[in-house]
Symmetry: C2
Subunit: 299 residues, 2 copies
Amino acid sequence: MSLVVVGSVAFDDVETRYGRRNPVLGGSAAYFSVVASNFTAVNMVAVVGDDFPDEHVDFFKSRSIDIRGLERKPGKTFFWSGKYADDFSTRTTLATHLNVFADFDPVLPESYRSPDFLFLANIHPALQLKVLNMVEGKPFVAGDTMNLWIDAEPVLLKELISRVDLLTINDEEVRLLTGEFNLIKAGRMIQEMGPKYLILKKGEHGALLFLEDSLFFTPAIPLEGFVDPTGAGDSFAGGFMGHLARKGTVDAQTLKEAMFYGAVVASFTVEDYSLERHRTVDYAQIEERFQQLVDFTTL
Amino acid sequence: MSLVVVGSVAFDDVETRYGRRNPVLGGSAAYFSVVASNFTAVNMVAVVGDDFPDEHVDFFKSRSIDIRGLERKPGKTFFWSGKYADDFSTRTTLATHLNVFADFDPVLPESYRSPDFLFLANIHPALQLKVLNMVEGKPFVAGDTMNLWIDAEPVLLKELISRVDLLTINDEEVRLLTGEFNLIKAGRMIQEMGPKYLILKKGEHGALLFLEDSLFFTPAIPLEGFVDPTGAGDSFAGGFMGHLARKGTVDAQTLKEAMFYGAVVASFTVEDYSLERHRTVDYAQIEERFQQLVDFTTL
């Protein structure tokens, strides 16, 4: 089944208690695509500047990622710089240079127009809606968002939410969006706004899937080698959507498995900066860690 | 199998975003005993003042709790007052009046001296050690502690840790005690200090069991009716030790089940103030919620 992602490709400058890396490959579409490509072919829609090196493009190509939707424009690539608190409870953005991303106007290549699965990574909800309007057929659509859009574009965001099948959102954002402190009540309120499913992301504390009338949980996999959480959420989404697209079904059992695959691939991402860890992970290691997660949570 | 707990019985004055209750029954031994009594008979060692009402004593008696070890002394019962931040991330202690607990000198009644299972709730490590020295035979011993003793009594605490089979400790405390930020490494460091097993408590984010060469996790059960986390840790311990004592074995499978029972009974505790919720919970409801937890975590 075909899978399309629309999001960002960026250069990141990241500092955690374990060190700093700059500049490294980042961006939601980069994390999503590289990770999802462990499960299925991925069609990427994003924009980079003329400073984006061929080596990164070659990395994408080497992973069965279709980059016909990766536009290259004159100017610089999106740049983000951030620093995590020593306990990782907060992240401070030091710089955001949108550069060519400021005028990002996603266009789906003809060959991407009828996807079976579509992930709208965290970009302006007007662009997410534009992509939705461009799509033909009835794909399974998952969308991500952030506090910025909840504050700045509540009307557009609510329209977007009403049109996705699944929303991914973190605990802070779901409280902001609904005004409800209790996460279960807040999640159910989001489902009443449209999405059949919701993934409530809690970072190192795991992720909660709201199904129609039940809940399913995956913890984050405990790691001795944790160094940088950047990209964990988009990696989770990549594993989650990659597994759905591979299976070609969206039933409760497949969604639960997808949660575990999401946690597994995110656990590799956070073991190194950027996407470095994924250069050496093979599929057998993904299955091995999947089994570890099963043992970690199953009586 | 016989189960003994040594800890506090107290009056609490608790305020959360959902309201305030004062004075209510509290204390580690109270939570532990009432909860564990769902699984097995419990022998309680604690001290109260002459202001402690018969109604609470009758409540203990009604739950197959042996109170021959509940000493009543002239003076007032231990009093604690605290307020939780709106997001429950922190708890501020407003008052601690030790009262008769200041001179607590636990003595095990003759009939308690050879327990099969012993829980040393969070009291001064010198008293925990005193109890350990009083015990005959080779019980399975679990101990709890807190940051106060890590700072104030590091030598005694380390002796205590070297002598328990299982330590329960939260994420902040394990970092303080070991100087290691990574929780998995920190947990393994504690195991090298003596305990074969460790339960790392993460409050609303669940609890992690360190077995000899693997890890097992239980999330907290998601609740729409959460109101007050006071006593959740001691309730967890009560469910955990209660199940072990009921089964009479300490193998990996039983320990994993005990983690789930701990999460189940703690989830009832936090649905009301004090031990109120447990006045109406019957064992069938415990099994029903246990099955919910299995469904919540199992593919």
